[in-house]
Amino acid sequence: MRKIRSKNIIEVVKSLCAQANYELPKDVLKSLKMNLIYEKGIAKNILEEIIQNATIAKNEQIPLCQDTGTANFFVNLGKDVYIDDGNIYNAINKGVSLGYADNYLRKSIVFDPIERKNTKYNTPANIYVDIVSGDKIKITFLPKGGGSENASTLKMLIPSIGWAGVKKFVLNVINDGSRNACPPLIVGIGVGGDFASIGLLAKKALLRRIGSKNKNKFYDVKERELLTDINKLNIGPMGIGGKTTALAVFIESKPTHIASLPVAVCVQCHSCRRKTVII
């Protein structure tokens, strides 16, 4: 059994908070640059500003966006490793509170959704743990802004509606809410499971690298079809009209009940910040 100290995890998380918020992932930046040729006028200017912003943020270590987000952590915790002086939840939360304070990131979490008093540490983080084989801990950090999160939607469809119904639902979600979600977007879709699990699956779909193929052939084709359809909606960069409404569509599916067809659409803004570290 491999033994690990909380301090080790705290330091990793602190550093993840800074790096993810200052540096746009290479695949996102590449995709933005590739889409420049499809736009002109002010829509193209917007894409140029986004690309320029990424350079300034990285070089000067300034957050890409003032909304440094809810701190989402996806953890693969090896079954042969244990934290001998604490637990993964406390260690990550401690890392977030220190990482957000030390790196001048915004604290955007309130204790209660009605009373709305700021917790001042950007905690609690959302921590999702999967137990896996091995003695490593893989931690992926996804700071997610509130604007795009507010455009995300979940619905329990019925089986007879099939893929056509899922597609219609996704296009409606994007058409209704995404002008306010800082497009060009990355669209994470979860299909199947149940009410509780499908939102999480849609969010996890956002962790895929832009340009990667879906391992499921059916959904791989559907991802490309949906991307084309979304980009025909003429929403464009920041919703002002244009061809670049989304950079990618990622679909994940899971088994579901004979009566159900749950669908969740997790909308991610262009500032798709994510970073993974293996301890």
Binding site: I42, N45, I46, E49, I50, Q52, N53, I56, A57, E60, I62, P63, L64, C65, Q66, D67, T68, Y104, L105, R106, K107, S108, R116, N118, K120, G145, G146, G147, N150, R179, N180, A181, C182, P237, M238, G239, I240, G241, C269, H270, S271
Partner: protein
Amino acid sequence: MRINLDKLVLSTEILKVKQKILLSGVIYTARDAAHKRIIDILDRRGKLPFDFKNAAIYYCGPTPAKPGTVIGSCGPTTSYRMDVFTPKIIREGVKVLIGKGSRSDNVINSIKENKAIYFIVTGGVGALISKTVKKVDLISFKDLGPEAIYRLEIIDMPLIVAVDRCGNNIFKK
């Protein structure tokens, strides 16, 4: 087109929807929680945190400034959450609104009736926008942290006219 805020509030007719400009002048940040407090103040006829006559409000909650800088990342937040408060705020004299995303019909009508204007800034480019902010002062609601009201002196902030004073709307489907 470079434009100064003082000139703009006197003649909003010079700008049309979809026009791109670089704005300079003094603007005030206010987002969700600050708006709620402003409305409470108006309801009990209290003293407003700054002079609303011809003022510009920027929907923004910046990250903390690093030592040696005036402000952190400071892009716009989504405007529609303020829609329920905005007509009342425009009636009090605010002339310029800066944020991102679409507005309600009520807000657009209010902009039209009062010859106001709504600009959008590219969202998610807060590092770039921070370069246009030259001076920052905390004005009110310090306890709200990032949601406090700050007075910003800006030079050449890149904006797009999203709703002009005739009510023409960039987001009209």
